[in-house]
């Protein structure tokens, strides 16, 4: 708002400044410091605003109704985000296959890590949803979505054989049985 005068002055001054050496004289229209480079300085205190001019923007009350709807919508977006990702994840799961190699592992890690991360920052999300009227419902949906996401990741781990669900996974921990009898002997020497 302060710019028109200042800008004009600045433009003039620069023009004057650049032409200063060529011209014999120049008239400075602005009252501020001629050497001042800063436009803000020029615009702040020294510009006299016209009467009725307010620096604060006037809030537009006519748009407020639709805005509220938007918040609601936005909150639902946040809440439904994890659920929306599930089809995408399913597709990735299908594409990456069950072989154990670096890319599927990375995918699985991502898939497992994201919901966990989301669950960890649950309170932050709730704060985001604070303004919504259906805060609790949205929170629940968000939670379910994330849980579903992590369940999907676990299922993927399971189908890749990364979960210790078989007896063979615990084989290495079986101690050799203790021997009850001592036996020895051999051919008669």
């Amino acid at each position: 708002m302060a710019s028109p005068g200042g800008q004009g002055a600045g433009a003039l001054s620069t023009r004057g400044g650049s032409a200063a050496r060529r011209m014999k004289w120049a008239l400075e229209l602005s009252l501020g410091n001629t050497r001042s480079r800063s436009e803000r300085q020029g615009g702040q205190g020294d510009v006299i605003y016209p009467i009725g001019y307010s620096e604060k923007p006037v809030p537009d009350t006519s748009i407020q109704e639709t805005d509220k709807n938007l918040v609601e919508k936005r909150c639902w977006d946040v809440a439904l985000g994890p659920l929306k990702q599930i089809p995408m994840n399913l597709f990735i799961m299908y594409m990456s296959g069950n072989t154990i190699s670096i890319f599927p592992i990375m995918m699985v890690c991502m898939m497992a890590w994201r919901p966990i991360q989301a669950l960890m920052s649950m309170s932050a999300t709730f704060k985001l949803l604070e303004s919504s009227s259906q805060q609790w419902l949205q929170g629940l949906v968000y939670l379910i979505g994330n849980l579903l996401g992590s369940a999907l990741a676990i299922y993927k781990c399971q189908s890749m054989g990364l979960l210790p669900t078989h007896s063979s996974d615990w084989l290495a921990f079986i101690e050799p049985p203790q021997r009850m009898e001592i036996m020895g002997g051999g051919m008669v020497l």
Partner: protein, 974 residues
């Protein structure tokens, strides 16, 4: 190294396309060593045809013919013949560059060129048992060799072995053949206690010149008591009449009797006197001087002078005598004990001197030659001298110089130079290793001291602190001296740095890769060998070992119990009397232990080492006598008490293959036993060949196998399981069979029984974990076959915490598969590692001298015939009947190990590494890595590259960090 290997591989393919090395070229001899032996010497000749020759030829009882370097004792070449009587060397005759050997009781006549050890010729002789052979000279040259057999005498050309003539002999027992260079060949025979028969043949055509028989009722064996001396004079000695008998072979006459008393001599009571003569040149008659041995330590030099016997010199005491000729001079070497220093055997109370002196005497006069004394210091842990071989040579001043090679009772060959310098020693007893063990080396003295500190009882805080400080100081001192030594050695050229291993500086290395090998040989000599270098650190000769003794070596206490010394016990059993003795010794130093072993009045059947320990950490050894009573060693109160508590869980089994009986016994608290089971295998049909249990120090890491569907098939790991192998007594190829029996040693329960029809032994068995692998000859298909049996408990474990044979109701599942193997085998053993994580390999000793490391993976009864998804998941190799021998599986590359008789495996401190010793005629030690070296950086690991890259990256980070800072600052200023 990879490039070198490539080149080597190419070379190998070009030169010998059948062997490929499995080690890098620069690793040859780094982890492995081989020692070659020849065995106990039967005949030996120094190569004399050149003055500068460095060869000594040996023909041994192991059927080996070899040439040794007299300067170093190393082998020039060696020829190993068949074992047993077929390859037996009956005679060795040396003429110039040719060595003529009679082999296999007169089966073959061979001539070797001794410079390079090449075969000149070989001919097959007519059948008949060999008696004697000699070189035949005529008119100053030696062109023939005469071979006397029981039924014939034949003459062969030395140049090509062709037979010149052969004559049949009558039924008289001809024993000796002799030729004096005058165109006659004499065959001397005897009709025991009746008369001597002498037949003389013409060299040219084999016609009988003369034949005579002379009364000699006292004579039974010509070779033992007669010798030909001077010009065709047969001299014999008889102990019953105490006389010498002389017979002129030219003229038929009576034997002239010369009573020894007339010479002023007397025979030791009970001693069989003997005669020794010498014939330096086969083309000339023997010398007229000869030795008469009258007692174990009395030798006489006699001379036949104009038909009269003259005593030139009486050598008493003299242990050994020998003739030696150089040029025209013949001397006698006499070994006599040096008095004063006497050592007595522990067990036998037999005393023998600590040092002997050898002197030279002129053969003609019996006069002693000046400056010819040689001192032979005997090893107190060795045996008595047994044979003396003398090499003489003329010095520049025409005097006689000499070296002697002495063979002692413990089969040690020593070459000594004047005045007593030992040039080399060869321990030929090591050619016949019976059993061995590997023992961990102790920690260094200082380490052990530090460790021992915790074992001692505390006596006050202050003294403990002081003790700790002092031991830390000692450690510091040791470390500084070690550093100093490193620094000092670093300045010297590498070749000069000696790395001598002695008993004093022995210590365990970081990964326990260096161990002490304790080898027990058939001659009764014990050796302690450093496994890293192969140097013999101690030896101990046990005299009075019966020739057919059975040995069992047990480690009672390891080195882990400082300050108690480690302790090994050797059970020596005389198979004839059944009586046994125990030899208790320290395996690191070889010293006999001060602990007195119990005397065993009863014959001992078996022994059993228990995991129980007495208060001194010695494992308890149980000895079972023929009354089935048990005695314990050590038998302190503590031990007896422990035994009483444990008695009900101590079982033992005995297998008597002569009666076909397998019995199981249980110990009672009063140390008697009760029979709890018995299996009889009828000896008329089959006999028990071997029984294999599991090795007590074997660990199995994985209790099961993972299937394709990720379930577990649990292994049946019964520590009491025995594999019994039987062979049929009927050896006809249609009816012969072998049987294998898997039996529980505690309960006697038979789990599996298999009979392989149309198969024949020898069967080699390995029993480990849950599998048994055996190899046999299939007479039906005429090939060697491997068979593997694996036992599984099923998909569920019955009891995973304890294993008791008495409580296992379910019989295991048995899987079996067989394969064809392209070679016969000599011996077989499985690798062994610390924790049993590493996969197993079978080490197979082949008759060709190779040692094959065959992955057990190939011998797996679950190998499928049709590949399925699941079997692929399990990494099972599809079944194919043939097992291939891949050349890179030979762990001993070109280091052939002759006549492998046994392979010993021991775990090292590294899980990946297993130490292997193969013994037979040779000894070979190496390391194997069945699953590659997963816990060790490669030998050629590029430390320089890695560390320089690391440093470079580090500095790059530092620099770029600095640069980034500068740049940020600049940007902020802008």
């Amino acid at each position: 190294a990879a490039m070198a290997k490539l080149i080597l591989l190419c070379l190998n393919f070009i030169i010998l396309s059948n062997t490929v090395e499995a080690v890098f070229e620069d690793q040859v001899g780094k982890f492995d060593w081989r020692q070659q032996y020849v065995g106990k010497v039967r005949f030996s000749h120094f190569d004399t045809h050149l003055q500068s020759s460095k060869k000594v030829l040996l023909a041994t009882e192991k059927n080996v013919f070899a040439a040794l370097n007299t300067r170093t004792g190393e082998l020039f070449w060696r020829h190993v013949d068949r074992t047993g009587p077929e390859g037996n060397i009956d005679a060795l005759l040396l003429h110039g560059q040719d060595a003529v050997l009679v082999i296999g009781n007169g089966r073959l006549l061979r001539s070797w060129e001794i410079n390079v050890g090449g075969l000149n010729w070989e001919i097959v002789l007519d059948s008949g048992s060999f008696q004697s052979a000699c070189l035949v000279g005529y008119q100053g040259t030696v062109k023939h060799v005469a071979v006397l057999k029981k039924a014939s005498i034949s003459l062969h050309y030395l140049s090509n072995g062709h037979q010149k003539w052969v004559e049949n002999l009558e039924t008289v027992d001809y024993q000796a053949v002799y030729s004096g260079g005058n165109g006659d060949v004499y065959a001397l025979g005897v009709v025991p206690h009746s008369h001597i028969t002498v037949v003389s043949y013409n060299v040219e055509d084999g016609e009988i010149n003369k034949q005579m028989s002379v009364e000699a009722p006292w004579l039974s064996n010509i070779q033992a008591s007669c010798a030909v001396i001077a010009k065709e004079m047969l001299a014999c000695v008889d102990s019953s009449t105490a006389s010498l008998y002389m017979l002129d072979l030219h003229v038929q006459s009576q034997m002239t009797q010369i009573p020894l008393q007339s010479l002023g001599l007397e025979v030791d009571p009970g001693f069989q006197p003997a005669l020794v003569s010498t014939q330096p040149n086969p083309a000339r008659p023997p010398l007229s001087e000869f030795f008469l041995q009258l007692g174990p330590e009395q030798h006489l030099l006699l001379q036949l002078n104009n038909g009269q016997i003259v005593v030139l010199r009486d050598f008493k005491p003299a242990i050994l005598v020998s003739f030696a000729t150089t040029g025209e001079k013949t001397v006698v070497a006499v070994m006599s004990p040096k008095n004063k220093t006497v050592i007595c055997g522990f067990c036998t109370l037999q005393c023998f001197p600590l040092a002997c002196s050898v002197n030279l005497f002129s053969a003609e006069s019996g006069r002693r030659l000046l400056d010819t004394t040689l001192i032979f210091n005997m090893d107190p842990n060795g045996g008595k001298p047994e044979k003396l071989y003398v090499q003489t040579f003329l010095k520049k001043d025409d005097s006689v110089g000499y070296r002697v090679m002495v063979q002692t009772e413990d089969q040690t060959l020593t070459l000594i130079q004047q005045p007593g310098r030992v040039m080399w020693t060869r321990e030929e007893a090591l050619s016949d290793v019976v059993t061995m063990e590997m023992v961990d080396l102790p920690l260094t003295g200082t380490q052990a001291e530090l460790e021992g500190e915790f074992g001692k009882k505390a006596d006050g805080l202050m003294s403990m602190v002081l003790k700790r400080l002092s031991s830390q100081l000692i450690l510091l001192q040791a470390w500084i001296s070690h550093l100093w030594k490193l620094f000092y050695d670093a300045r010297k050229p590498r070749s000069l740095v000696k790395n001598d291993v002695t008993i004093e500086n022995l210590s365990r290395d970081e990964f326990n890769l260096q161990k002490m090998m304790i080898m027990v040989t058939a001659s009764g000599k014990l050796f302690g060998i450093d496994s890293k270098t192969g140097s013999i650190l101690w030896k101990h000769y046990l005299d009075n070992i019966p020739s057919n003794a059975a040995f069992k070596l047990m480690v009672q206490r390891t080195t882990a119990h400082f300050p108690h010394p480690p302790q090994c016990t050797l059970l020596i059993k005389d198979k004839d009397t059944g009586l046994a003795t125990l030899h208790v010794f320290n395996p690191i130093f070889g010293k006999k232990s001060h602990i007195t072993p119990p005397t065993l009045p009863q014959p001992i059947l078996q022994s059993l080492i228990l995991p129980l320990m007495d208060q001194d950490y010695a494992k308890v050894l149980l000895l079972i006598d023929d009354q089935y009573k048990v005695s314990a060693f050590p038998s302190t109160k503590n031990v007896l008490q422990q035994l009483q508590e444990m008695a009900s869980s101590i079982f033992f089994y005995l297998v008597d293959s002569s009666q076909g009986r397998l019995c199981g016994y249980r110990l009672r608290t009063d140390l008697s036993t009760e029979l709890i089971w018995e299996v009889i295998i009828p000896t008329e049909v089959q006999r028990i060949v071997s029984v294999k249990g599991k090795r007590p120090n074997e660990h199995v890491h994985s209790q099961g196998r993972v299937m394709g569907d990720r379930s577990v098939l649990y292994k049946y790991l019964n520590p009491n399981l025995l594999a019994v192998v039987t062979e049929s007594t009927d050896l006809h190829q249609e009816r012969s069979f072998i049987g294998i029996l898997l039996i529980d040693g505690v309960t006697g329960r038979i789990f599996h029984e298999a009979v392989q029809r149309k198969a024949r032994g020898p069967v080699h068995v390995v029993h480990s974990e849950n599998w048994v692998v055996y190899e046999y000859w299939s007479t039906k298909s005429r090939r060697n076959e491997f068979s593997v049996i694996e036992l599984y408990e099923g998909m569920e474990l019955y009891n995973s915490s304890v294993f008791s044979s008495l409580d296992r109701p379910h019989a295991p599942q048995v899987l079996q598969q067989s394969y064809i193997f392209p070679s016969s085998i000599s011996t077989m053993e499985a690798t062994l590692t610390e924790k049993g994580i590493t996969s197993r390999h079978l080490l197979i000793g082949l008759p060709s001298g190779g040692i094959l490391s065959l992955p057990k993976m190939f011998l797996d009864p679950r190998r499928p015939e049709i590949v399925s998804e699941q079997s692929r998941e399990e990494n099972l190799i599809p079944y194919s009947p043939e097992l291939l021998i891949r050349t890179e599986w030979f762990i001993n590359y070109n280091q052939t190990v002759s006549r492998v008789r046994g392979i010993y495996t021991a775990p090292s401190g590294l899980e990946s590494t297993c130490l292997v010793v193969a013994y037979g005629l040779d000894i070979y030690q190496t390391r194997v890595y069945p699953s590659k070296q997963f816990d060790v950086l490669k030998d050629d690991y590029d430390y320089m590259l890695i560390s320089s890259v690391l440093f470079a990256l580090f500095f790059a980070t530092m620099i770029s960090k600095r640069l980034a800072e500068v740049k940020l600052l600049n940007r902020a200023w802008r």
